[in-house]
Amino acid sequence: MIREFNLIDVYYLLLAARWTLALTGIAFLGGGLVGMIVAVMRVSPFAPLRLASTLFVNVVQGIPLLAWLFVFFFGLPILAGVRISPWTAAIAAYAIYAGAFLGEIWRGCLQAIPRQQWEAGAALALSFGEQLYYIIVPQAIRIAVPPTVGFLVQLIKNTSLAAVIGFVELTREGQLTNAATYQPFTVYIVVAAIYFAMCFPLTQWSRRLERTLRVAR
């Protein structure tokens, strides 16, 4: 028997949204780590590092996230020789994916700091790492916040793709609810509304941060 879609389903969808947030958080941490390394490599004075990181960014950004998920889901068991859960595959794929985008965003922020700041650091006999740590990064962080929050919205939306490798988050829970109630229109509108409720405040926040930054300059 097909049952009705009612409030308890909305409650289950909200519970599933926690997994969307959890996946976003972990992907952001992993991606942030990869992204920091990529951004620093992109501005390093050593050409092979710049080349390698540029290649990494272009390859990751040129392949759909869906393909990354499948390559990791099916590929890691072969390469590592162990069966892996959707969790591991999803985290690996999202860390790589978010790393490339965050690396590119943060590189832009590092390069937005005027050259003279680097030169002033060099004149004080600071090494590349010291210039980065004491002079460039503290200034770059301020301009990096709005686009990073903006990317967080992308990330929340893109975690929906983890549904296709069987990771139960909001979209997958929507599919399951739909299979039980067969009211796709209602179910997916509710799912969309929950995503909206998570993303819209961040979008607005990012916009406000951007405005404050423009006034401050």
């Binding site: 040129g62 869906l66 393909a67 739909n178 229109f185 997916y188 995503y195």
Partner: protein
């Protein structure tokens, strides 16, 4: 147990893969054309329209940009039939992708339009150009030149995002991959090959857009 890579079974289906590539390219081109038109109209309405139209377009843009494409696709493909509108996978994919790109393009082109100085519009008017002429020659074209890199980057993202329509069984490259996977059980091989094809398409598309931009916006 050691895994032996075997690409032969995958290569044997190259014509099937090619058909998937053709669908992906066709879907991308159709979406880019329709989406840009919605974007241009939406941006014009967002900046010059009456207040109710402005808030309507703003609502459309925010609703689309704050929800995932896959959910939009499910609403169009699975949801609309219960509202009495039954669509095949391909039309549903096209509609969802176009609505999605339309919202992003609206936002991008709006930024370009707002970057055109007011004085330039007044100069156009004082030369006796009509409102439509001013919009076309004085506002839209310079605006498109400003936002061209952002817009084409979005087009490349759309090409990659077409892979998501495989989830409603539209016969694109990614759907072809999943069929080949279930026929041959060569999971890793087929997805590695398909990933490489997407990468090649993305690179070609990037160069093509750069070349088109060079031709279209070279004369000033």
């Amino acid at each position: 147990m050691r895994y032996v890579f075997n690409f032969r079974d995958v290569w044997a289906q190259w014509d099937f893969i090619a058909s998937g590539v053709a669908v992906t390219i066709a879907l991308t081109i159709a979406t880019v054309i329709a989406g840009s038109m919605i974007g241009a109209l939406g941006a014009a309405a967002r900046v010059y329209g009456p207040p109710w139209m402005r808030s309507l377009v703003a609502c459309y843009v925010e609703c689309i940009r704050n929800t995932p494409l896959i959910v939009q696709l499910f609403i169009v493909f699975f949801g609309l039939p219960s509202a009495g509108l039954r669509l095949d996978a391909m039309p549903a994919a096209m509609i969802a992708l176009t609505i999605n790109l339309g919202a992003y393009a609206t936002e991008i082109i709006r930024a370009g339009i707002e970057a055109v100085p007011r004085a330039q519009i007044e100069a156009g008017r004082s030369l006796g150009l009509s409102g439509v002429q001013v919009f076309r020659h004085v506002v839209l074209m310079p605006a498109l030149r400003i936002v061209y890199p952002a817009l084409t980057a979005q087009f490349v993202l759309v090409m990659l995002a077409t892979s998501i329509v495989s989830q409603i069984s539209a016969p694109d490259l990614f759907h072809v991959a999943s069929i080949i996977q279930s026929r041959t059980f060569r999971d890793f091989e087929i997805y590695a090959v398909v990933a490489a094809i997407y990468l090649a398409l993305a690179v070609v598309l990037k160069f093509a857009f750069a070349a088109i931009g060079h031709l279209a916006f070279a004369r000033r």
